[in-house]
């Protein structure tokens, strides 16, 4: 749980010894590529911190088409916050694009964090607002930006995903067709390739 330990220290302000105590009873779980951590209709009871690997959260529309909401590579947290907080059935699926090792985070664990770390509430609020900021920007880009602008934002946010995720999934995340994504990448290459 190396990455999770660093996350607790750096992002949530815990000391090394607090982290060691907290993680004594915690275990990671490794799931295979294609396995689900959440399926539509279930109540999401955990968030999932990614130690190693890559998760995807997506929704299905009425035609059965997948819409990728978020990728979660190492150090990201996946989970349906709405389902967790409001205790309602989820609209989403979370599955593994690669073999993935995750740490399960539930409310009792967060309560424990709040008990041992006086900074936890403030730091957690910061993370929550950072998440909201990200979601707002994503809505704005989907509504108002060109496909190329969305692609350029995507590679800033996820610098090493292009080599890990099939093109059609990236296209789905960007809300464009795989053909459009190819066109954008070809146009960028025409502009930037020196070879």
């Amino acid at each position: 749980m190396k990455r999770f330990s660093v996350f607790l220290e750096d992002k949530l302000g815990l000391t090394t010894s607090q982290v060691e105590d907290l993680l004594l009873s915690k275990q990671t779980k490794t799931i295979n590529k294609g396995d689900f951590l959440l399926e539509q209709g279930q109540i999401c009871s955990h968030s999932f911190f990614v130690e190693e690997g890559l998760l995807r959260m997506y929704a299905l529309n009425n035609d059965g088409k997948e819409h990728v909401v978020q990728f979660s590579p190492e150090n990201w947290i996946a989970g349906d916050r709405g389902s967790i907080y409001f205790n309602e059935p989820s609209n989403y699926f979370i599955d593994a694009i690669e073999e993935t090792t995750v740490v399960f985070i539930d409310q009792p664990f967060l309560d424990q964090l709040a008990l041992v770390s006086p900074d936890f509430r403030t730091k957690n609020e910061f993370l929550l607002h950072n998440h909201i900021r990200h979601q707002q920007k994503r809505i704005q880009l989907l509504l108002g930006a060109t496909a190329e602008e969305r692609y350029l934002d995507f590679i800033q946010l996820y610098p090493n995903l292009l080599l890990r995720v099939p093109q059609w999934m990236i296209a789905s995340y960007l809300g464009i067709t795989p053909e459009s994504l190819s066109r954008i990448r070809k146009a960028l290459a025409d502009k930037n390739f020196a070879g």
């Binding site: 292009l162 080599l163 190819s182 070809k186 290459a189 930037n192 020196a194 070879g195």
Partner: protein, 291 residues
């Protein structure tokens, strides 16, 4: 001259697929004591041991992927590979031939079983080796050397022992055609049963041997088919004797002794350069190639 002894003999690890066309055993960097630092300047060696692919209308292989910072050397023992790259290059690596691709600043390429081979199916056997580039050459212009078998240096061994086929560097007075950025010797010892050959390399070079056909004795010690020998970095000379008609791939290169930062298809000197490689790949600096 002192004998160069075997440090370790590695059996082939369980095979895995690269794409759907290359069924390989990895020796470098995942083999025991075969990490990139120890094997410097050789940073990756995948070995597709002899494997029969059934006929396939759709050629099997590996789709578009980038490389930066090193050279890929593909040695085709059996079967044929077709390749294309984002610089507009392409061609076929025929049986017995070698393709030496200097990825350097970066290319996208894809590799598939050649169409006719794919349709007929048959035995496929190949080595893909990555040779690291010195820091000063990592961002040089990409290039290819297609080396057909006839161009290789052929050194006839005495008393009908066989030949040494030199791809790069030299065996005695016979030179190989490949140009390299740091001293690298690469050769196939094609020995008849009972045939012997002696090899000499500087003691500090990283020196290995892979048995791709038959089986051999190295300094008197049996080394079986598909096994990989790593030599000690002491002594200079060793002897290979074929127990039956055999082929051994021999590699010996001078270590670069530079820091290695590696992430998937990018092998650079620092983490910053790796991040830069990802960014450059994302914005098309490697060009574009249709899958």
């Amino acid at each position: 001259m002192k004998t160069k002894n075997i440090e370790i003999v590695l059996p082939p690890r369980p095979a895995h697929y690269v794409g759907d066309g290359f069924r390989v055993h990895n020796f470098i960097p995942s083999g025991f004591r075969a990490d990139m630092q120890r094997m410097d300047p050789f940073i990756m060696l995948d070995y597709n041991s002899k494997f029969e692919f059934p006929p396939s209308e759709q050629p099997k292989g590996v789709g578009v992927h980038p490389h930066r910072g090193f050279e890929t050397v593909t040695i085709a023992y059996q079967g044929k590979v077709a390749h294309h790259d984002s610089g507009g290059g392409g061609g076929v690596i025929g049986q017995g031939d070698v393709q030496w691709m200097t990825a350097a600043s970066g290319v996208l390429h894809k590799e598939y079983h050649e169409e006719e081979f794919s349709k007929k199916g048959g035995f496929f056997q190949m080595v893909q080796l990555w040779v690291n580039l010195p820091a000063k050459d990592k961002m040089s212009k990409p290039k290819y050397q297609g080396i057909v078998n006839e161009e290789m240096g052929k050194h006839e061994l005495p008393i009908n022992s066989g030949i040494v086929e030199v791809i790069a560097g030299a065996y005695k007075d016979t030179k190989g055609p490949a140009s390299t950025f740091s001293p690298v010797n690469m050769m196939n010892a094609k020995l008849n049963a009972g045939g012997k050959a002696n090899f000499n390399f500087p003691s500090h070079y990283t020196t290995t041997l892979l048995v791709v056909e038959g089986n051999v004795k190295v300094n008197g010690q049996e080394v079986a088919l598909d096994h990989f020998v790593i030599f000690e970095k002491e002594g200079e000379s060793f002897e290979v004797e074929a127990s039956e008609n055999s082929i051994a791939l021999i590699l010996s290169g001078e270590p670069l002794n530079e820091p290695i930062a590696a992430h998937g298809p990018f092998v650079m000197n620092t983490q910053e350069e790796i991040q830069e490689a990802f960014q450059d790949y994302n914005i098309g600096k490697f060009g574009y190639l249709e899958d």
